[in-house]
Symmetry: C2
Subunit: 202 residues, 2 copies
């Protein structure tokens, strides 16, 4: 088997390392790059380098940021009494994309997982408790995933925030049937949760 | 909606332009880039730029190449009497990956398509006929896709090669049921072709 170009091979190999990109997708992407104008490929390459070089961690929420404090934490239009705790940066972006949340965020960078050796000191929890002690935040919404680890992390955080004198109220995002879904296709754990967490019809 | 980083946004936008990459994949890729070491991101970026900058067209087969003549056309171990005609570079790579073809290639860069205004002069056909006239090639295998345009292109090429005095024999790759498939799931056009093109059991 003879490869027509070592540059093509090199790029296919690089693309194949990315998550969700198999050899066929990598090859398709590389052929697409061949068809781009040179300035377009330079823009793509520069974006990759720029992101890795310029990204920082927000000193307030722990999320990614272009400066010392991220755009959300800096914004004047956010409700500073409301704080949403998420596992990862991407979760904050997903919530942000709903367009219906106006509070601030706190990124944990993971969940408690004793089996993987991840304890509270490995997560961004100390600064969360500090934020809760400052008296500005009145409500904390814990939006970790509805998994064993996510629930345990939510409980751990709730207990420690509960220890703060006159601290914020701690809430958990609701879990139940997704909108537009069918009872027939719901797993029994979700269905049971949706019955236990039933809400009053208004 | 507030974005946490304009660099992240820029890279997600760039990734989204690639074929088969939607907003969710683009975002996942960008977050992956965030986790890479700086030298890894530089390698990826350099591969993109290097490919676009250094790639050339082989002056013999019309395929992509790092030099004036591609590795396949240069190779001493190839059967120079056998020539496989393909629509696109990627088709040559797919055939090369089977590991069972030892001849040379000729890349057409498309197929005849009067509706799209693509005529013989838009394809790499003149140099194909020139190669056939040199007396070295004894057999041409046309491996354009089994579509209306691919078949028409095969016919057009076969007729012109047939006009060459003492020119090579022209063959078409076989079309029929894929190996391991089931008659039940074959479309009737393929099934009919497999009956018409039946071969003797040896």
């Amino acid at each position: 088997m003879t490869a027509p170009s070592k540059y093509l091979d090199a790029l296919i190999r690089e693309f194949s390392k990315l998550p969700g990109i198999g050899p066929k997708s990598a090859s398709r992407l590389a052929f697409h790059i061949l068809k781009l104008r040179e300035d377009e490929t330079e823009k793509l390459a520069a974006s990759i380098i720029d992101l890795r070089k310029n990204i920082r961690s927000c000193s307030i929420c722990g999320g990614i940021s272009d400066s010392d404090i991220c755009a959300v934490c800096q914004s004047d239009s956010r409700d500073r009494s409301l704080l949403c705790v998420v596992q990862e940066q991407k979760d904050a972006i997903i919530i942000e994309n709903t367009g219906g949340y106006s509070g601030l965020y706190h990124i944990l960078h993971g969940v408690l997982s004793p089996l993987d050796g991840i304890g509270p000191e490995d997560l961004n929890i100390t600064s969360l408790l500090q934020r809760c002690r400052e008296g500005i935040v009145r409500e904390v919404i814990i939006a970790t995933n509805p998994t064993v680890e996510g629930d345990a992390t939510a409980l751990y955080i709730a207990r420690h925030i509960g220890d703060i004198k006159a601290g914020p109220e701690v809430m958990r995002i609701a879990h139940g049937l997704p909108l537009g879904s069918d009872l027939e296709f719901a797993d029994s754990a979700t269905l049971l949760r949706s019955i236990q967490a039933r809400t009053k019809v208004r």
